[in-house]
Amino acid sequence: MNLISSIYTMLNLDFMGYAFLAGTVVAIMAGLVGYFIILRNLVFATEALGHVTFTGALGAAVLGVDPVFGLFGATTLVAILIGMLGTKVRTNDVVVGTVLAWVLGLGALFLNIYTSQSSGANGTFGVKYLFGSLLGLQAREVQQIAIAGLGVIIVLLAIARPLLFASLDPDVAVVRGVPVGGLNVVFLILVALGLAASVPSVGSLLNSALLITPAAIAQRLVSRPFVALFLSAFLALTFTWLGLTIGFYTSYPISFIISTLAFITYVLVFTWQKLLG
């Protein structure tokens, strides 16, 4: 069995090439953004934003607009709203939970309208947005993912230093003249764009998988911020590539393999550290 030639064969297939390209961009982006999400205690807010993508996409479909607009538009809008509310509200899990519940209910309504509007063939539309499919990506979707993803990565790296400062010690950062409020909003918009961009590939239910677990592992392993930041991206990328490859040769769903790999790694790291005390 020739490893190199089998990898070559795999990548030569159109849909696998697309999947690897999109997966790579999404993974690096998720790894980087995820590190800051955990640092800023925004895991639940991110989860809520992740579900806005579903409601947004279906809402646009009901109105007869391209779902992509709903996906990016609604998510960014909610992100700006969350960003404008104070830190106290943003990390208040009752407020986030209440809004999340409502967004999900709205999603149920849109789904209901959409499926009764259009005939049977479109019944899978909602499922596509809920679960995504890395292997079913169209060239156009890969393009969107690549553009949005690279944009998020570049902006995030550009603001990484002040953002880190503002995340670790907002009070001192304000005194030093760092625009903490502005950074908050910019960061949440980046999260929103990142979530929206990854929906076609991993779906709105699981688009936080790559965001949270790799970053959580990285934070457990190293304490130096920039090392942890890049380790998180590296781990997300590794899980994605392994997931795609295993998914190609077995028939298991790729998002299941990725989330399981990440979870097992997290549990191993956690247990190992617990045993060492």
Binding site: V43, D93, V94, A108, S208
Partner: protein, 289 residues
Amino acid sequence: MSTDDVHLSWNVIFDIQQLFAYHFMQNAFSAGMLVALMAGVVGYFMVLRGQSFAGHTMSSVGFAGATGVSLLGWSPIFGLLLSCTVAAIGIGFLSDRRHQTAMGNGVAVGTIQTFFLGLGILFIQLSHSYTENIYAVLFGSVLGISDRDVELTIVTTVVTLAGVIAIARPLLFTSIDPDVADARGVPVRLLDYVFSILLGFTVAQSVQVVGVLLIFGLLVTPAAIAVQITASPYLAIGISILLALLFTCIGLSVAYFTPCPVGFLITGLAFGTYILVRLFKFGQIQLLK
């Protein structure tokens, strides 16, 4: 869910007769009220303990459980109970000791959630189930509640409520001040596990009525409103139950006469009320100034 031969009229009594004319609606109301009762009680503690994320996660975990056991041909409720219990224990294990309440730990909750969602996706693929089945688990299917489901719901409601009542006082104590409770010898960690499992039980019941995605609305919003209205714990639990029952009944009734899904109506009503209460309180504070 509206049936073609059902029309709303000005005769209220006739409307109510229509509402209960079909057996499935009687079942829907019985199951819905039981779920609301439990959600009102458990939701209050969930909100008090800042565990909304954990509650949301339980519903995602329940999705994996329900789809998993349907592969084996069992009733989804067993899968829900099993998966929620496993997840509760898993979150407790993965939390650091420095977090007093394990379920309040966002990272532990988030990692468990994504893992279970991944499992759910695997089970869906393995079962080759139709989209309708996925939607039924996610968003509930009121039409399909059998007599056996109602009986099961009665049993689990009694068990869950008995559990909550048994631990209510110490639970309230640890929820409000875990440090002092710990110092007084209250088993904080144990209560944490027990409550998480009760939370899981509550989510597990709800699958037929509102679905795993929307039970969360019934858990969090009525309790969030109650906490806004009163500071007294027992009064707040009462209000929370009352609101949950009210939203469920209105939601089910309106959904019967219109094509709106029940889950949307319940969460929409609850969210609207929450916003009104917040605005009212905001106005009060402004006036007092």
